[in-house]
Amino acid sequence: MRLETRRLLDRAFSSLGLIAIGVMALALVVILTPIIVRGSGAFIFRSTIEHRKVMFDQWDRGNAGRLETAKAEVAAARQPVYDMLAAFNTELDAMPRADRKPYKQSLRDLEKALAGLLGPVPGERTPVLIRQQYGATRWDRTQIKLDDVLTTEEWDYSDPTALGKLVRTPRVEQFRGTKLEPLFPYVEQNIKAMMQPRWTCYWQFLFDTSKDSHIFGGIGPEVLGTIYLTLGAMFFAIPMGVIAAIYLCEYAREGRVISFLRICISTLAGVPSIVFGLFGLAFFLNTIHISDSKSVLAGALTLSLLVLPTVIRASEEAILAVPRAYKEAAMSLGAGRWRTVMTVILPAALPGILTGVVISMGRAAGETAPIIFTAAVSVGRPLLPLEALSQPTPALSWNIYNLCTEHEAVDEIRHVQYGMVFTLVAVVLLLNVFAIIMRARISKKLRG
């Protein structure tokens, strides 16, 4: 081949590698962007008057006086809607029976859509479910609910070869010529006055319990559950892992037994996480009955086994990175092996061990499969520390799965799902960034 071509190929080769790295970075950005953007929407968003009502009724937050004024303003803005409905009802009563019929179903649908947007009609009996007591709490949901009021949606399956198509038709068509016709433009134009959207920072999202299975409120129990599980897992994994690393690095003589132990560790690292979950179920719960039902304790133990290999490896690396000179110096001053480990090697290895521990914490916080059968429930209240020994808990990772697959109103609570993912990812990333910075400082120290 000609030299030029070889050079061209060389450049192409390098750019191929660069493209691969670019794709990787792109994947990271593509995955993180929606999580961050929409996740922060769970904390900072335009809330409507309904949100303020929920906050005041359920959590005693907000200024009562100001809320009453706002309520009055909103009620005034909404009154024409109810007036029009009442007028239409009288109109309907005046109609002949046969004409009345087609309007009945349409009216019921409209009333349902309006309740979704504005909440129950004032003066009517308060519904039992909390979710039916309030209208749309968020401005973005308000837009969707408004669409529901203004249009009806239907699936068009007329073409059998293609997939069904969604068709929206204005609802006003159903009420042409009646007293309800002006309702639709009125609602569309006055939606702001009826909902009073306002930018809110709902930071309590992190700590609040949820009301009516996550439709209102925050993710407090999940956050707490994740903290319990993570700290519990580290409580077991750190001592075991560090002791194992000390033994392997400082005491063990290389031989059959040790290489066997090492194979065990690497096998443990390769065990799929769902198998850990099954093991936790079969051993901790069904065999030694560590608690009557699923519990945080069982989950933490299972997770600790999962992160154990990581902790052992990180600690081993950190211990091996301690210069041999330290060990020799301590020995020459008359320190025994144990004293050397405790006074010199461990303190010097501590930052490295901590780095590994922090990374494992991120792993433990994010793992779902091991806790499905051992610790996690979908809905629960925040546990007291002692209750964690015997009771299951909701946890971020599990509830993300649960809310976006098994919840009855998946679309209603997208913001909660995103908020949870955002919180979990933020926690894990912060832990990792902390570890990365710490490692950079260690390597600088070892080099300098």
Partner: protein, 274 residues
């Protein structure tokens, strides 16, 4: 008496009679002492004695076993898994390779300074107090006193007395090495082993360490391994020349450097190899 001692005695009677080293009681004495790494014999049946209160230098090309022999004196070689020793090495009348020897006590009585300054990543104070604390000294006043006197002995007190609590890693290489010396002295050893203590230092710091060795002469038995023949000539009373694990010649420094008895010694000190 071993053959080497006989030889050395003969040499000092024959030529330089300015000081008779044989009159000094032996502090460390080896008899047919060997060290093996696996199957490799790094030190081959060495017989010699290191007299009390003297500075003995060990020279020889790299890999000749001088460091191994030095490290054998406080059993630092125990750290190397495949390493074992043969023959006897006596310290203060006891064979230190006997089974019932307390290695920890041995190392407290035999201090060591290493090739590279190996201060702990702790404060200066904690570095010095490390050894005394191991011995169970907890009283703050006692510790203060030991720290001060050791640092003074190592001639570094004036430089660090205002920053005893700062991390020792922030000091210059020469200071660190003197701190290591002070740390070894704080245990109040009888013997100081120095394994090429100046090889990582600049000339100025080297001079300071050499001066210190001069000041410590007589108070401690000092055994120093060095690559640098001028250094051996400057600081030591006695010099041992080793080659390929064997002790070739052992005698008064001046005699060994001016009138070596062995051909190999002469070749080495005149720079024909090594």
């Amino acid at each position: 008496m071993s053959a080497a001692i006989e030889m050395k005695r003969a040499s000092s009677f024959a030529g330089h009679a300015e000081e008779d080293f044989s009159l000094h009681p032996a502090h460390v004495q080896t008899e047919d002492f060997s060290v093996f790494y696996g199957n490799f014999e790094a030190v081959k049946k060495v017989n010699c004695n290191f007299p009390e209160g003297m500075v003995t230098a060990m020279i020889g090309p790299s890999g000749c076993g001088k460091s191994t022999l030095l490290r054998a004196i406080n059993r630092m070689n125990d750290l190397i898994p495949s390493c074992r020793a043969g023959g006897t090495m006596t310290f203060d009348g006891e064979n230190i390779y006997r089974k019932d020897i307390d290695v920890v006590s041995l190392r407290m009585r035999v201090g060591m300074v290493f090739q590279k300054p190996n201060v702990f990543p702790k404060s200066i104070y904690d570095n010095i107090a490390y050894g005394p604390r191991l011995q169970g000294i907890k009283n703050r006043n006692d510790l203060d006193e030991i720290v001060e006197s050791s640092l003074k002995q190592a001639a570094i007190w004036d430089e660090v007395k205002d920053r005893l609590t700062t991390n020792a890693l922030g000091m210059s290489g020469g200071q660190q090495q003197r701190l290591c010396l002070a740390r070894a002295l704080a245990v109040k050893p009888e013997i100081l082993l120095m394994d090429e203590p100046t090889s990582a230092l600049d000339p100025k710091a080297t001079t300071k360490i050499e001066d210190l060795i001069g000041q410590l002469r007589g108070q401690y038995t000092i055994i120093i391994v060095t690559h640098n023949m001028q250094q051996a000539a400057r600081v030591s009373d006695l010099t041992a020349f080793m080659y390929e694990g064997t002790l070739i010649e052992f005698g008064a420094t001046r005699q060994l450097f001016t009138r070596p008895r062995e051909k190999q010694t002469e070749d080495y000190i005149t720079g024909r190899f090594g």
